[in-house]
């Protein structure tokens, strides 16, 4: 009970809500770090995934990148990047970008690859050139999966950005790491609550956005969710 009170007291303390180490500032750092990494990852993953899916080549590469990516601990990448780049924003940027690429690459590849061949035929029959086929047919039909990939990547990046505090980065992880260092359980718990709430908000927010932004005929329920039946991708969506 005393512990619950100490956590509430932590949240109630106005000092924790202002200044360069206050919650709003740390939240901004966390979001900025994550947004930059996801955007950079998307700029790399989307063209590659879409191209591979369009040509139907190197499929194993696109799928294996996810499996290998899962085997390399982000914690290790972060520490290695820290050794390479030193005390600045690059270690977190590199580690988080590498983390963001696999789900988006795999999903955009599968999304484009699995466009119904009859739809492709119809588009060609209507006289579409390859480029138009890609832009007007394949990519729109792949959108649900592409967006699911972006959501997966974003949630993983927001979660892992917590570790950036280990290599002297900012973000909400600071509260946990500093709390552990100072044996301040209330701060550790408060930091964990903030990070967990943020990760869940991102997950729910992005899946809400998918429902709104996607064309009616393409909503997740009917198509992309079923990718889970492809066992290797069960956690991709």
């Amino acid at each position: 009970m005393a512990f619950v009170v100490s956590v509430i007291a932590w949240f109630a303390n106005p000092a924790h809500w202002s200044g360069s180490s206050g919650v709003p500032q740390r939240l901004l750092e966390h979001l900025a770090m994550s947004a930059v990494a996801v955007t950079a990852g998307l700029l790399i993953a989307l063209p590659v995934g879409v191209a591979l899916g369009h040509w139907g080549r190197f499929g194993n590469l696109a799928i294996n990148v996810s499996n290998v990516g899962r085997a390399v601990p982000s914690f290790a990448i972060l520490v290695i990047a820290f050794q390479v780049f030193g005390l600045n924003n690059y270690p977190a940027f590199v580690a988080l970008t590498l983390l963001a690429i696999p789900p988006m690459l795999t999903n955009s590849y599968i999304g484009v690859r699995d466009v119904d061949p009859e739809v492709r035929d119809a588009a060609r029959g209507m006289g579409m050139r390859p480029r138009r086929l890609l832009v007007d047919v394949e990519i729109p039909l792949a959108l649900p999966l592409i967006m699911a990939g972006i959501r997966t990547a974003a949630v993983q990046v927001v979660a892992t950005a917590t570790l950036a505090a280990l290599v002297a980065g900012g973000g909400l992880g600071r509260f946990i790491i500093d709390g552990l260092g100072q044996r301040d359980d209330a701060q550790v718990f408060a930091g964990a609550a903030l990070v967990a709430a943020l990760a869940m908000t991102v997950e729910l927010g992005l899946s809400g956005l998918e429902q709104v932004a996607l064309p009616r005929g393409l909503t997740m329920k009917s198509t992309a969710r079923e990718v889970a039946a492809e066992p290797d991708l069960a956690v991709m969506t």
Binding site: F75, A76, Q83
Partner: protein, 224 residues
């Protein structure tokens, strides 16, 4: 935090003299890593399987269970461990509760999807042959769901091996302790050894489980 103020640019990626002197240490960490992983995956399977069967047999439970599982899965690992520290301290129990939670969430989804992938005709045929629900589950549905379940076990195992490294921050960690030592002491050799062994362990475990899957599903061999 005992963070070194400067990075030592002259420190090589691996110092072999130090490496050879610490091989027994690496072995101990590796063993610890394997133990933490095996416990997490086995316990996770034991808990996830009945839950999945429940969600599969009792439809109203399915969507809420999977939705809650998916949401819990988004909780960052460090945060999950941090939540537990006030109650279970910097112990193996804290690590395992966290690790088992993640394996449950991965396995639950895959087992449910696997069971749902059993063709309705097969289920009809089993019923027509007089299988009772339990026998049908154990002899027909679960075996047919094995590929999806094994895919889940592989993902859970590889994910857990990565997550174990994070538990170094709460005093456990197996190979993660080497990574953490590299960070704290600003010394690259243990960092490199810990990373390489952890990745190798993950890839090896994945390969081993893929092999095990082939052995226990002889009927699926021709198709893949």
């Amino acid at each position: 935090m005992a963070l070194a103020p400067f990075l030592d640019a002259t420190d090589p990626w691996i110092r072999w003299d130090w490496f050879w002197r610490h091989v027994p240490d690496f072995e101990a960490r590796l063993l610890e890593h394997v133990q933490l992983t095996v416990i997490a995956v086995v316990l996770g399977l034991l808990i996830a399987a009945p839950l999945a069967v429940l969600a599969y047999r009792w439809r109203p439970l399915r969507d809420p269970l999977l939705a809650i599982g998916g949401l819990l899965y988004t909780i960052p690992s460090l945060a999950l461990f941090a939540f537990l520290i006030p109650f279970t301290g910097l112990t193996v129990v804290t690590s395992e509760i966290g690790l088992v939670s993640y394996t449950i969430l991965i396995l639950l989804r895959n087992i449910v999807v696997g069971l749902e992938g059993v063709p309705p005709e097969v289920r009809d045929a089993a019923q027509g042959m007089g299988y009772r629900p339990l026998a049908q589950l154990l002899r027909i549905e679960l075996p047919l769901a094995t590929p999806a379940i094994m895919a889940g076990v592989r993902i859970a195992t590889v994910t857990t091996i990565g997550l174990v490294t994070v538990t170094a921050l709460i005093g456990q960690g197996g190979l993660g302790q080497l990574i953490n030592a590299g960070l704290i002491q600003d010394f690259k050799t243990p960092l490199v050894v810990g990373t390489v062994l952890s990745v190798a362990l993950a890839l090896l475990a994945d390969l081993g489980l893929a092999g095990a899957e082939r052995v226990i599903t002889p009927w699926a061999r021709g198709r893949a």
